[in-house]
């Protein structure tokens, strides 16, 4: 060995300071080239060791694990699996960052399973005092079955010790530090029997990764030891969990983090932001500010959009030749598109705030803070983001569940998110509250209507949490958690990233939900504009005859209004409203409200528009014409239709019912099955019905 160089491979996660270690070891003796045939950079350097020994240092691309997903990672695996490669290392140095040991050690345990000598280099030791970290090196060395060099390339500490360890690599143990094959002893036992000369972990890598390995083919192994792709995927996940469990156990004793003694700014900030009391106070304060801004800033653009679409409808009506198409465009398509566009300001503002919070690193603290509480309800700390986003719209919120690792927690989050009060409910709430709740103040300054609105938001959120609790109890879905709370450093959000995020989320809503809402508005328009039988087709004559019989003086405008309303009553949609009347009567609704509720199952924001059509609101000069008409609506016995019991019943129904076809479509997409949206629809509708029924019967 004396005249042969020791081959050393530097391996590590990205950003652990591997390049810095490489530079510290090799100085200027470096060569940079490409791996044969591919563009991945290959860096080899030369290092003088004590006692005239020499080493070739190979800097491998940064990789998170041996589960290859990129070309970079493949390079690492292929080299480590091929003993005949002339670069095959005599010893591997796994470089880790002392602040991220837990995550970094995953790769270490995998390399260790390859049974080559491994040195663990823990870099950035200079940060330990700042962060209040201390390590029990001898415990770690014993548990991880390796030798450790605690280094700081910045302070040039520990490099000589590392060189010493490299030189005496023959003394290193090549035993793995944990027995990964215990997750399926039968299967791995079988592999061992068939290929007695090969490492089991190597075989496992060949099966699960698409790497070339001389002498053994993936097909050859699988032909004798069959596993389906999904079984293999499951086993890989099991493997990761097992490794993290092992690492957690080792670090519990081997690493102490004393936040109190940490001195850096980030840690001090963490101490406040994740504080048992202040943490929550600050979080809810920020939430409060966000909602205030979303609603007040969106008001102007929303009003603009509203009047712009109103203007377009009128323009089309006036300038196109009269006919079905003109009506469809002005009454179906333009309001349909308007109903989507109007939510853009709120959604964009919400995601602006959320991505600033995420980019700055604050969201990770919230996730950490909320995780304990949320776990009790079967949710994850990461469910906070979807539940908050749900206030704008459930669609981007449900897409935001993708980073929840645990499937059961993710599923529950998806199922309960639509309970949060989305902006489509707002117009319904506003009009009903203004009809049935008096405009008065309590305690001199609290507006009762405002309180009612807040109570509805709270009701939605509490119902989401309660439903999660129940789902957690009854759902029989097995899944394992390996929750690695990563606390990224605080940083100023990059404008570019925030911008991209806002545009993407908004686009997802407009494109995803928009097309469905538009298609449904078109279908609804047809159902409301066509009907079977003479009543519908001869509506003009029937209504004119009725009016002339009653001798009442009506303007042409009022007459048109009455005809439209009569037509609607006898349209397909109106007939459907009558059919369901027996079901909704106990809730205090008549068939007209029934139509509005029915059409709302496509998208709840059509409620007000449908009522406007039903109550035949013509072009009048009155302020708030729909509200006036609704307030004037009477039951057959002469009492007000929109009284307190009916109003509260409607509010509760809209708070809890799953009235959004687009959300159901997105749930189907995210869960890849019809089962979950069906369950969600059934449960939410049942809850809504029961709540509305109880409220009406109790208040009546």
């Amino acid at each position: 060995m004396s005249n042969e160089n020791i081959n050393v491979a530097l391996i590590g996660n990205p950003n652990v300071g591997k390049t810095s270690v490489f530079n510290a070891l090799t100085g200027l003796n470096q060569q940079v080239g490409n791996y044969p045939g591919i563009t991945v950079e290959k860096k080899v350097g030369f290092c003088k060791l004590p006692n005239h020994a020499k080493a070739n240092i190979l800097d491998l691309p940064g990789t998170y694990s041996l589960n290859a997903s990129s070309m970079d990672e493949n390079v690492v695996i292929e080299l480590l699996l091929n003993k005949n490669d002339k670069l095959f290392p005599d010893v591997a140095v796994v470089v880790t960052d002392v602040e991220n040991l837990k995550r970094n050690l995953l790769l270490f345990t995998q390399i260790k399973d390859l049974e080559i000598p491994v040195i663990l280099a823990i870099n950035m030791a200079d940060r330990m005092a700042y962060k209040g970290i201390s390590l029990d090196i001898s415990h770690l060395e014993e548990q991880l079955n390796t030798k450790i060099a605690l280094i700081s390339t910045r302070k040039k500490q520990g490099i000589e010790e590392l060189k010493q360890l490299i030189m005496s690599y023959k003394n290193l143990s090549t035993e793995p530090c944990l027995n990964a094959s215990s997750m399926d002893p039968d299967y791995f036992g079988g592999l061992r029997k068939t290929f007695p000369n090969e490492l089991v972990y190597k075989l496992w890598l060949v099966i699960t990764q698409d790497v070339n390995f001389r002498g053994i083919e993936k097909k050859e192994i699988l032909s004798e030891h069959r596993k389906s792709d999904s079984e293999l995927k499951r086993m890989q996940q099991k493997e990761t969990i097992k490794r993290y469990q092992f690492i957690n156990d080792v670090l519990k004793v081997g690493q102490t983090i004393d936040k109190e003694s940490a001195r850096d700014f980030g840690t001090k900030l963490d101490r406040i932001l994740t504080h048992k009391v202040w943490g929550y106070a600050i979080f809810f304060g920020i939430l409060f500010l966000i909602f205030q801004s979303i609603f007040s800033w969106s008001e102007v653009p929303m009003d603009l959009i509203d009047s712009a679409f109103g203007w377009m409808s009128t323009a089309v009506q006036e300038h196109m030749p009269p006919g079905v198409l003109t009506d469809l465009i002005s009454q179906g398509i333009i309001p349909g598109i308007g109903g989507i566009v109007i939510f853009i300001p709120q959604i964009a503002f919400l995601f602006l705030f959320i991505s600033v919070l995420e980019e700055s690193g604050y969201m990770s603290r919230v996730v950490f803070l909320m995780d304990k509480i949320m776990k009790r309800f079967g949710l994850s700390g990461k469910s906070v983001v979807p539940l908050i986003s749900g206030v704008a719209c459930a669609i981007p919120a449900i897409m935001a569940t993708r980073n929840i690792e645990n499937w059961k927690e993710r599923l529950i989050t998806i199922l309960v998110t639509p309970f949060t009060t989305c902006s489509a409910r707002l117009p319904v709430y506003t009009i009903i509250i203004s009809l049935v709740i008096p405009d008065e103040r309590v305690l001199g300054f609290l507006n009762i209507r405002g309180l009612m609105l807040m109570a509805l938001y709270a009701a939605g959120f509490l119902m989401a949490i309660f439903a999660a609790y129940i789902f957690n109890k009854i759902l029989k879905v097995t899944s394992k958690t390996y929750f690695v709370v990563e606390m990224p450093n605080y940083k100023l959000p990059l404008l570019r990233n925030v911008g991209i995020n806002v545009v993407e989320k908004t686009k997802a809503f407009v494109v995803g939900a928009g097309k469905i809402i538009l298609a449904i508005s078109i279908v609804l328009w047809f159902l409301a504009s066509y009907g079977p039988g003479d009543d519908f087709n001869n509506a003009d004559k029937i209504v004119t005859a009725q009016i002339s019989k009653s001798d009442a003086a009506v303007s042409q405008q009022e007459l048109d209004g009455h005809i439209a309303s009569y037509k609607l009553e006898n349209s397909y949609l109106g007939i459907a409203g009558k059919v369901i009347e027996p079901v909704i009567k106990p809730l205090g609704y008549d068939w007209k409200i029934g139509i509005a509720v029915l059409s709302s199952f496509a998208a709840r924001e059509v409620f007000v528009g449908t009522l406007a059509t039903i109550y035949s609101v013509g072009e009048t000069d009155e302020q708030d014409p729909i509200r006036e008409k609704m307030a004037a609506e009477r039951r057959p016995d002469g009492s007000k239709l929109f009284d307190l019991p009916t109003g509260i019943s409607l509010l509760l129904f809209y708070a809890f019912a799953m009235q959004c076809a687009s959300t159901l479509a997105i749930v189907k997409k995210e869960t890849n099955s019809w089962k979950w949206p069906a369950i969600q629809f059934a449960i939410m509708s049942a809850v809504a019905y029961l709540a509305a029924l109880t409220a009406y019967q109790f208040l009546q």
Binding site: Q236, L325, L328, E405, W407, K480, A519, I522, A661, E670
Partner: protein
Amino acid sequence: MIQELIAFGILGVALLYLGRKFFYKKKKNNDNCGTDCGCG
């Protein structure tokens, strides 16, 4: 007449789109699912 033709054409497209969206099942692996969700 021509108006009716176009209008019903649009209705057809809308229905077709909804039908495809809701009832036409694509067998497609969803990368966003956990591997233990039984949906792969």
